[in-house]
Amino acid sequence: MARFSFRRKRLSFNEMTNRIPMPVDPLDFLGGNRTASRDAYAQIHGAIHGVLGEVERSISSLFERLRPDGNISDRMVLEANAELRTELARANTFSDVKRDEMLISIGSRLESLFIQQLVIAPDEEAPVRRWAALADRAIRRDLPVVSEPNHSTLDVSPNDRKKRLARWQSETDEYLETVCLNHVGEVIHGLLEEANEYAASWVEMITDLRRLSASGGQLYQEVTDAEHWSFDSDDPTVKNLLTGGQAQDIAMRILSRFQLSNQDLADIADTVHNSLAGKPVYGSNRVDPVELQELLARATAQKIQSTVSIDTGFLSLMSNGSRFGEELGELLVDMHMGAAAMEEKMWRVGDVRVGHVDSASGVGITASNLHDSVLRGLGGGRKFAAVEGHPGDNHRFEVQMSTVGAPISDLAIYRDMVNAWYAWHFEDVRSVSVNGDASGWSTSVSKESWKLYPDIGEETGVRRAIIELIDDDLKKLWNGREDIATRLTNGSFSDGELLNGVVKPQDKIVNTADPD
């Protein structure tokens, strides 16, 4: 009659070395692919096993030195025992470090998975339940005792010593594998705890997002209300020239051709994860759903912005419809009224014409008749480098939805400057004695000019040139009232109002001849 032994098979680190995989990324099963729980277990096992390989090699070398056919001293045995204990302690330390590293990585990957699933598959169940079967494999074992042979035990015949050394090595081997499996179990426990929190938070988060995006929800209102699409800026030199409805329309056209790649998705998750600065995505103290939605939107916005091809920028998106050319012309008139008007007030057209070099944003390929609309919109005359002929009978044209459009009140900077300069020279006590005398004003300007124009020597500097410029400014401001295009004032103030209060009629000529 056959006799069967039910003795448990002894664990062996050495045997496992050839049986388990050594994956480059042991946690890649968390990336959402359909890895079976058995394979996931093998990958975790392989990772912990890998870090103990160095310890195993050191232990093998130790047993090599105690070869059965050589002499052995008491000191050699003592040293071998001490070294072995050190190696076993190293095995525990290495495993602890790897376990902690994997637990951190698990948390980070699950958060990334959570964020990615929110974007692409919010309707699916949390993909973490399939790892629940791993729990059966996470068994904690007691560490076996590794004997400590003394000199008399090993100082025996070569055959006996060989057997005893083999037993000692086998105990060590079992110890290493037990350490390895216990740490695998701890990693799995950590993974399952995270997965449970993930699953519980997923349900709650989805409920919150459903509430936000449903009719009447905060997100729903934000995207449907055109007010939120106007992007007004506090900057007086910046104006959004698109209406909310137009912006919505463009957004829909952009989204119709927008697709997220896997890499984009991973980048979005990384950006959100980094911006949370340690705040968890799931769990009891997780981030607020509205904040998470905001972070997701900002990270996704970067991807949309980089995905929208420059060649199919805003203008081509806007250029649908017969009224496009006219609308564009109107936009450019607005631009002219804004930036151009401010610049003209500051520098005057004629001597220093301002190259308008801002607002580089979208490049669109548009119909060739656009050029006419643009030139009309600019009112002619003004050099506007943003429009240029294109050899392919298209026109490369750049304007951005946010462009310069200063309110009228801010167009008076130049006037204010002249006013301030004038007041400083003539309206305080310094000028009381030169009342009504043109040469006296000039004397006053020259006398005080050293405080304002420190680069000006009597002979070498540019003081006289500056006074000539100021003289010219004052003359032009007065004489040029009629030259200012009325459309620039937008009917808000008259030309007289612009200039009266800046200089008085009698102030318009400053004698540039230096009385000194």
Binding site: V223, V357, W421, P454
Partner: protein
């Protein structure tokens, strides 16, 4: 908070992408005055996360009449204090002084409360001219090592037009003109920060003085650009002479700058102004990257199309850094998320 954290995350992402170089042409960034030094310092801090090759293509130089500024910048930075020795140690009526002030005793009267007149900085700039030239040469050598064969760079000068330290601008431009005569070829970008009423300590008194200073400096820049007006008796030349300590005449031939940009803060707040201008500056310094790349392409296009060299000299910048386009794309992303959640949930 959200936008700040997302920006930090972007910075991290950018910092980690080693492949992309931001800077094609090395730059020296010079802050003139307290406001400008704060802006430059901000850029200095932001750029610390850039790659090594980008970072070594950037040099910073700080100049201020206020000695305390030295304590506000990093210790390794080059700082040139625009200070003068005690009057008793200076001989009066020397040309480098009298070009600025009729007599040295007037100098002590040249500050009007917190807002100094320009003369003080002008004299201090002349006194420290040797120091200034030395630092400019050393910084250029640092960002453009001659043995690497790079001989083109950009110099960005940031100055608050309403302040007093801007009075040293003519001296700085003269020093740059002299440096340009060496084996290096560089273009100068002037960043002129405009005074704003809401940002003055006392809008009723100091703001008009700031406007007056702004007007004076702008007139100097116009004159130094060689604009000819009226009879053209004195205007029309873009070179000028400056006498510096100890009575050395420096001839500064034009053109003194390639483009001057006017900056306004979107809000009447110093931190906002600092961040806003520094961000635009960051874009322009990073000429191989994003907005800077676009901007420089557009700038050269403008210069090509300009009727004369003057046409494109002055410009204004208020491009996408101001955030309107960012706002649009964030809103579009919200629309995307809404579509996803609305259809699938």
């Amino acid at each position: 908070m959200v936008s700040q954290s997302i920006r930090d995350a972007e910075a991290l992402t950018h910092a980690s992408s080693k492949a992309a170089n931001r800077i094609a042409s090395p730059s020296v960034v010079i802050g003139l005055g307290s406001t400008s030094c704060q802006i430059v310092r901000r850029l200095d801090e932001v750029s610390s996360a850039w790659t090594f090759s980008d970072r070594k293509s950037l040099g910073f130089l700080y100049m201020d009449t206020r000695e305390a500024t030295r304590g506000e910048i990093s210790r390794s930075s080059r700082f040139i204090p625009l200070t003068l020795p005690h009057f008793s140690n200076l001989r009066d009526m020397r040309p480098w002084i009298t070009e600025c002030v009729p007599e040295l005793k007037n100098l002590s009267l040249s500050r009007e409360g917190a807002l100094g007149t320009l003369a003080n900085a002008g004299v201090a700039g002349r006194f420290n001219y040797g120091n200034l030239r030395g630092h400019i040469d050393a910084t250029i050598e640092q960002v453009c090592p001659y043995y690497e064969g790079v001989t083109y760079l950009r110099v960005h000068v940031i100055a608050f037009l309403g302040g007093g330290t801007v009075g040293a601008l003519p001296v700085l431009l003269a020093a740059l003109a002299e440096a340009r005569g060496t084996s290096y070829n560089f273009s100068v970008v002037l960043h002129l920060v405009l005074p704003q009423r809401g940002m003055s300590r006392d809008p009723e008194t100091t703001y008009p003085l700031q406007l007056r200073n702004a007007y004076s400096t702008l007139q100097f820049l116009r004159a130094a650009s060689g604009i000819e007006v009226g009879k053209g008796e004195y205007t029309g030349k873009d070179s000028y002479n400056v006498t510096v300590y100890p009575d050395k005449i420096i001839n500064a031939p034009g053109p003194h700058f390639d483009v001057a940009l006017l900056h306004r803060s979107p809000k009447d707040s110093l931190p906002v102004q600092r961040v806003h201008v520094a961000r635009i500056l960051e874009g322009l310094v990073a000429d191989a990257w994003g907005t800077g790349q676009d901007w420089w392409a557009r700038y050269h296009e403008t210069m090509r199309e300009a009727n004369n060299n003057m046409d494109a000299r002055f410009g204004s910048i208020s491009s996408r850094e101001v955030g309107l386009l960012d706002g649009f794309f964030v809103q579009t992303a919200k629309q995307y998320l809404q579509n996803q959640w609305r259809t699938q949930l």
